[in-house]
Subunit: 305 residues, 2 copies
């Protein structure tokens, strides 16, 4: 049984894409496969699973040399099971920058495209088999695109992602604005999470000038719920960074509706990063970055020290 | 002007594929591109260029941060310009195992497929634009496939590579057996090369149990021409290994027609590798490995210490 998984902080794309690809491998290609998760899905992903009647995939801690795997929505070993390079990786489908970490013993299929969403790439790879997708798989695909594009607001959005989402929504009879609003509402409910959980919820390790950062993003339609907790979030940053082998956590609170990010500024280091990377003056312990919505397209390429 | 290049030891695929893709980018996509080489093409590649009236691409030593590039037929930084990670890499098209070395600042197109030949992947990516390929580009594509599959003898050959080669040959009015024989004859003429050049001609760095090897392959229809020089080749191995930062050179002389490889065995280390990796007893300073033709599919996955 092939295990299909995304990264360790399962958002909607990293939860939905494994389900989509496992369906394709099992039902179309005839190679039994199942989606698994490397962590608890976020509240938006849980909402999507529930909305489309999809079972929550099993959460696994690691893989072994006996496992055959397909990796989706990441190519970064830091976001994958510790033993991923021991397993037999069959394929990688992703839309992130190359981190240069996955090694294989034989040539495999790798498809990385600068699209907003892994599920869009899967649609392209499936060809005519997309006609056979049941509604739940179609719904997962639509949800992945709406999530990763923040309903087409993110600058990562391509015409191709948008056209596919519109087509899927029409096929499913879904009204995109109201469905996306429900998804984002689910994601914005952070009441159940502690500060450390919030800092790690949607977080990627990234090195800037030799220093390791945890670049965390919280996309929300209710930024006040996060910013009201900024003091305790900042107080928790040193412990989270130390535990995860990073020097500093950078938390960007993305306001989906106002299309801007607020960066928490706990110290001089982050102040310097904010000023150098985004050309903004910083006075207090937060700074608003107008138009910044995408870690991949706007934050990571800009980060400098 | 986008620079399209393959690896540092340009064989037919690594010479032809950049030419094919530069044609596609320039003539179909409207993004000016040119093929360049990272070294002198081998005698087969020179024969192919001449046969199809293609200009020999410029040889470059490095790239800079000002360059935009497409990398084909490798994903291994050791086989690429020293400053490749400074340049703007737009795309990678390859059919080798993942070495995990290329890093990018933003998501790019990566297409790796377990096919015999990079040119076959390019054909798939081009879609209907293949109808517009001039004969010289078609000829380069056919030559890449015949070279990488050793005229369909190599176990790397897939039905997809074979079908495409047959189609191209029919379109061009080429008789595959006689054309392939001319290509292999060109490759087998090693008279102009010194021992160090032969050891580096088609060579890849590979680590086995923490030790770095230069895994060199010479594909030939006249193995005697190489084996007659085995003493001086073995005597040259230590200097080549030392200069290239490897511990040992492994030279596999692949007899295309007999479909077997002869490994030179200069010392106890290589004797152990041969016995452990291929399960053959070794007595003299060479050992014949029946059926072994592909470094990628047979040699690299088997190597053990």
């Amino acid at each position: 049984m092939i295990k299909v998984f995304g990264h360790k902080s399962p958002d909607t794309d990293s939860t939905g894409s494994p389900i989509i690809w496992a369906w394709y491998l099992s039902e179309v290609k005839g190679t039994p496969a199942k989606a698994v998760l490397l962590g608890e899905p976020n509240t938006e992903a849980l909402y999507v699973l529930n909305r489309w009647g999809l079972e929550k995939p099993e959460i696994i801690a690691d893989v072994s040399a006996d496992d055959t795997c397909v990796i989706v929505d990441t190519n970064n070993p830091a976001e994958l099971p510790p033993s991923v390079n021991d397993a037999k990786v069959l394929e990688v489908i992703d839309h992130h920058l190359l981190t240069g970490g996955i090694k294989t013993k034989t040539p495999i299929n790798v498809t990385i495209r600068p699209l907003a969403c892994t599920a869009t790439i899967m649609h392209d790879l499936m060809g005519d088999a997309t006609d056979r997708m049941p509604d739940a798989i179609r719904g997962a695909m639509l949800s992945c695109i709406l999530s990763d594009t923040l309903e087409f607001r993110s600058p990562t959005t391509t015409d191709h992602d948008r056209d596919l989402a519109l087509k899927l929504a029409a096929q499913l009879g879904i009204d995109i604005p109201s469905y996306a609003a429900e998804m984002f509402e689910a994601k914005s409910d952070i009441s159940a999470f502690g500060d450390a959980e919030l800092l790690r919820m949607d977080s990627k390790e990234y090195e800037v000038a030799g220093t390791q950062f945890r670049v965390s993003v919280l996309e929300t339609t209710a930024p006040r719920l996060v910013l009201d907790r900024k003091d305790s979030l900042m107080a928790t940053m040193p412990a989270v960074a130390a535990e995860d082998g990073a020097h500093q956590v950078l938390l960007f609170v993305v306001d989906i509706l106002r299309e801007e990010a607020t960066l928490l500024v706990p110290n001089e280091l982050v102040k310097t990063i904010a000023e150098k990377s985004f050309g903004v003056p910083v006075t207090g312990d937060t700074v608003v970055l107008p138009g910044i919505m995408s870690r991949k397209k706007q934050i990571i390429p800009a980060l400098t020290l």
